[in-house]
């Protein structure tokens, strides 16, 4: 089926033309050489709107090959709209194998989660990034933020975190929590929950970030130091739940709260559907 579609539509392999792929590939090589630094690239019009993962899709399209096994997740789930459509898009334009298993995948495109199953060497994760500039809410000008990065002048962000503490008594940023990559560049980990931030540190997998509307890509190579910003007296912490997952009983995974009726009943389940299913199967 997918084979027929591919030849019938006459799209180039992975949709993008070879010139665009080369441009993206050269940018990716520079991104890996300068961990955490945002490399500008010529973002193309994709067959879906900005905000639906065009940056991630362009990165995936420039690196995917026939031997890859692709997994796409949206908030941890393999079966939500964004994930299903991106997976189907690549199945059509590349005919590669797709999977929902983290362990079986060689390439994982993600909207805002890192799988619970530890990544392994050789895997590549592609993150869809809405706003690559961690400092953007604090400084609107790209010219200025470029200078701040050039001078490694990140006091603004520390002041923001401090204001959280002054106002709420703790750092209230719970997702898109800023990180220092390789002790040099302040970077946005994309809006992953801060629960996932520790997985960025010394990850065995290559992590690539693409922002289509903002036309920037950046990378965290494997085995690279990634520190979440914090203060000595207010160390970085991740979310914890009193509940276990209602489906698999896991105490270690990131939980979504689901409202089950209009009387206030609710349940907590794993955000990572593949992990949750594995846990259920291993208990069955």
């Amino acid at each position: 089926m997918t084979e027929t579609c591919h030849s019938q539509w006459q799209y180039n392999f992975a949709f993008l033309d070879e010139n665009t792929k080369r441009m993206l590939r050269r940018a990716l090589l520079k991104a890996v050489a300068i961990p955490g630094y945002q490399v500008p690239f010529g973002s193309r019009e994709m067959p879906l709107p900005y905000g639906w993962g065009t940056g991630g899709i362009q990165l995936t399209a420039s690196i995917i090959g026939q031997d890859d096994v692709l997994k796409v997740i949206d908030q941890g789930a393999d079966d939500t709209t964004n994930a299903v459509n991106i997976r189907r898009f690549f199945a059509r334009v590349t005919s590669v194998a797709t999977t929902s298993s983290t362990a079986a995948a060689s390439l994982i495109q993600s909207r805002h989660r890192i799988p619970e199953t530890p990544l392994r060497p050789g895997q590549i994760m592609v993150f869809q990034v809405p706003e690559p500039e961690a400092l953007r809410t604090l400084e609107a000008s790209e010219v200025e933020t470029r200078k701040l990065h050039a001078h490694q002048e990140y006091g603004l962000m520390h002041v923001k975190l401090y204001e959280d503490i002054a106002r709420f008594g703790h750092i209230a940023t719970s997702y898109d929590y800023p990180v220092m990559v390789n002790q040099r560049y302040l970077s946005s980990p994309s809006p992953i929950p801060k629960f996932d931030n520790p997985k960025l540190h010394m990850s065995p997998a290559l992590l690539l970030f693409g922002a289509g509307r903002e036309k920037r890509l950046y990378a965290i190579p494997p085995h690279t130091r990634v520190e979440s910003l914090a203060f000595e007296d207010h160390p970085f912490t991740v979310q914890r739940w009193e509940q276990a997952c209602a489906l698999c009983g896991s105490h270690d995974s990131y939980l979504d709260e689901i409202i089950t009726d209009d009387a206030g009943a609710r349940m907590f389940v794993c955000s990572d559907t593949d992990y949750c299913q594995q846990q259920q199967e291993s208990k069955a």
């Binding site: 070879e18 792929k21 080369r22 520079k30 300068i34 490399v39 090959g65 001078h151 010394m202």
Partner: protein, 191 residues
């Protein structure tokens, strides 16, 4: 006389790119290229593969004098544009035995845009261990590395290049069939 490039440009370039990406993600770990084209005259097969994968009309390349057949093939397959001097080039190709321009004279990017820097394709004889110990992003633990046929004082120049981080040039070390990446982030200690 034009040389034939890859049998399947689209798939083979993707394979070579993925190897290059891995090589820079895990520096100084020699990787064998999964597919090689016929070697261009005066160049190693792996070098030809990288040129087909990375070069097009959007970038400039500087190289010492290359055989006319090689230039003609690269113009045909990659729409090659030559830079007048190494200082202007996006890519610098150094076939085995050619002399290395001072790394500090090459495009290293600007503080705001350190990515606007040169990538050097540097041919070596072979990868042998025990010249340097390297660490940095991409190293789970320090790795020993060496290459025969490197330009003299290369590692001394490299240390100065790394000291300018995030500015600097990046190097792809190329043997006949293998590739090792050397991004500017890599810290190298001799001995």
């Amino acid at each position: 006389m034009l040389q034939q490039a890859f049998d399947n440009m689209e798939q083979d370039c993707q394979q070579v790119f993925r190897t290059t990406l891995s090589a820079l993600a895990e520096p100084l770990l020699p990787l064998t290229l999964p597919c090689l084209p016929a070697a261009l005259p005066g160049l190693k097969p792996a070098t030809s593969a990288l040129l087909y994968t990375l070069i097009d009309q959007d970038v400039t390349l500087w190289a010492p004098a290359l055989p006319a057949a090689t230039l003609a093939s690269l113009r045909f397959h990659c729409a090659l544009r030559l830079a007048d001097t190494p200082e202007q080039a996006d890519f610098i190709l150094l076939p085995a035995g050619s002399s290395l321009p001072p790394l500090s004279s090459l495009r290293a990017g600007s503080p705001e845009y350190p990515d606007r820097s040169t990538t050097i394709l540097l041919e070596v004889e072979d990868f042998t261990p025990q010249q340097v110990e390297a660490s940095g992003p991409g190293f789970a633990s320090p790795r020993r590395f060496g290459a025969t046929g490197l330009p003299p004082a290369f590692w001394t120049q490299w240390q100065a290049n790394h000291a300018r981080f995030p500015l600097g040039v990046d190097v792809l070390l190329i043997s006949a069939t293998q590739l090792a990446g050397l991004p500017r982030s890599t810290v190298v200690q001799e001995g």
